[in-house]
């Protein structure tokens, strides 16, 4: 009888232990999952905040601006570009964030934030606690958008033999703090304008090309030149196509405005046909190597617009 009692006692204990262990396991599992969710939520919030903080970088009369974004913990920003489709015409700028957790590990990427009206040029990811975002508007021939160059204070750039206008703009208009022209930090990324020895990035102003990691991209104007320097080839080419799609729509708007002003107040639609031609070229652009084909049209339109009685922009 005692034996049976002992068996009965141990069975209830075994039952309690099994169910208790199950509850404990479920609780630990839930806590681990919730910690993941918290980290993801925090990363998503940071990504959204970064997206919001990029709004003031829409430039007005100033040609270039700068903004500093500080994060509380070590952060990796993963900006990406999604080219437009028929349903999503202008494509998207996406931002994902991974943050260093208290256990010194990188959290899973948070939810991806999508923004249609931003163009971030950067490497595949940028890590650090302080991020410098430089902004310069792309005028081609009218303003198409503001290009945002995302860099971190943990990486610095050394511009070697840069033309005076570049040095002047970076030091005065942008007030860049991680771009140097002399006394460069040893580990800085070397951007060369006339030499090509011991350089990470080579800018050929006569060819309007930038060579980086063995790959060449082409540019028109300083805004796109900076974009090519600060970003990976994939991001640069994708953002360029997005920008040209916006340019195409702006060409259409200006062409319609030109026709409208002619009908309303008799302003001659001097560049209406040029704008149609520009639209076609912008639509056909597939890579930066096609940029040259737009230059003549852009220059013609720019000159005609500045001499018009009713300037369109």
């Amino acid at each position: 009888m005692n034996k049976r009692g002992a068996l009965e006692f141990s069975f209830s204990w075994i039952f309690a232990i099994l169910v208790g262990a199950f509850i404990l396991f479920m609780t630990i599992f839930a806590i681990v999952k919730m910690m993941d969710t918290f980290n993801q939520e925090k990363s998503t919030e940071t990504a959204k905040t970064i997206g919001v903080l990029l709004n003031p970088l829409e430039s007005g009369f100033e040609s270039a601006t700068k903004s500093l974004i500080k994060t509380q913990v070590e952060t990796r920003i993963y900006p990406d570009c999604i080219a437009g489709t028929s349903s999503d015409y202008f494509g998207k700028q996406t931002i994902s964030i991974s943050e260093k957790t208290s256990s010194n590990k990188w959290s899973n990427l948070g939810k991806t934030i999508s923004i249609q009206n931003k163009y971030i040029f950067s490497e595949d990811y940028v890590g650090g606690k302080n991020f410098y975002v430089y902004s310069k508007s792309l005028n081609f021939p009218f303003k198409i958008g503001d290009l945002l160059y995302l860099t971190s204070n943990s990486s610095s750039y050394c511009f070697i033999d840069a033309p005076e206008r570049i040095e002047d703009e970076i030091e005065n208009s942008l007030g860049a703090q991680n771009i140097f022209f002399e006394n460069c930090p040893e580990e800085s990324i070397r951007v060369c304008f006339s030499t090509s020895a011991n350089c990470n990035v080579i800018v050929r102003e006569n060819q309007k090309s930038v060579r980086k990691n063995g790959e060449i991209v082409y540019y028109e104007g300083d805004a796109l030149m900076y974009a090519a320097i600060f970003s990976s080839k994939e991001i640069y080419e994708c953002q360029l196509i997005r920008l040209m799609k916006r340019g195409e729509q702006l060409s259409l708007i200006y062409q319609k405005k030109s026709d409208f002003l002619y009908g309303k107040i008799g302003c001659l639609p001097e560049i209406s046909t040029d704008l149609i031609y520009l639209r076609q070229k912008e639509r056909a652009l597939e890579s930066s190597s096609d940029l040259f084909s737009l230059v003549n049209t852009v220059e013609t339109i720019e000159i005609k617009n500045s001499n018009m009685e009713c300037r369109l922009w």
Binding site: S12, E41, F90, N117, K143, Y254, C310
Partner: protein
């Protein structure tokens, strides 16, 4: 005797099971309370971010190329100046821009001088006071900014620039 012992054993198992269920339900309830607080907190944060986004956007949207005057009105570039003629052309082509600025609606209301109280269309422009661009059926919170709304006019055979005071209003989504 055996039956009594069996019944006692069953009772004990029932007691432990009941206790465990109560403990489980207690923790589940705590979890539910925590989750609802957490979700409420997320919604509040999302609303705060949307509000901040809208306020920053409305202060800068006039500088975006689809709205800005550039140097079309005068020799220098102006801030917070909206090109009315251009915006009317944008209105015709707004479908592609429906999600572009990430807001529910964008409206420009002419404030001064007061004039015709009607929506601007191809037929009524410029004798109207409201340009509705993106127009959502549902109402949301709004943020606004004062801007100069400029257009070209033909005055006695001379082409002139005419700028009026307007309010640019954007409405954004609110998470409930």
């Amino acid at each position: 005797m055996v039956n009594k012992l069996n019944k006692q054993g069953q009772m004990k198992i029932q007691q432990i099971s009941f206790l465990l269920i109560v403990i489980f339900l207690f923790f589940a309830l705590l979890g539910m309370i925590f989750l609802s607080y957490y979700l409420k907190n997320i919604k509040e944060k999302a609303n705060e971010l949307e509000e901040k986004n809208a306020h920053l956007l409305v202060s800068k949207i006039a500088n975006s190329p689809e709205f800005s005057c550039g140097i079309a009105y005068g020799s220098s570039e102006k801030t917070d100046c909206v090109d009315g003629d251009k915006v009317m052309m944008l209105k015709e082509n707004i479908n592609k821009y429906s999600d572009f600025w990430g807001v529910k609606s964008i409206e420009i209301i002419k404030i001064y001088p007061e004039g015709f109280n009607r929506e601007c269309t191809n037929l009524t422009y410029p004798k109207c006071n409201s340009i509705k661009l993106i127009n959502s059926s549902t109402l949301g919170n709004s943020a606004s900014n004062f801007v100069a709304l400029c257009r070209k006019e033909n005055y006695k055979g001379e082409i002139i620039d005419k700028c009026e005071l307007a309010k640019l209003i954007i409405r954004y989504e609110e998470f409930n």
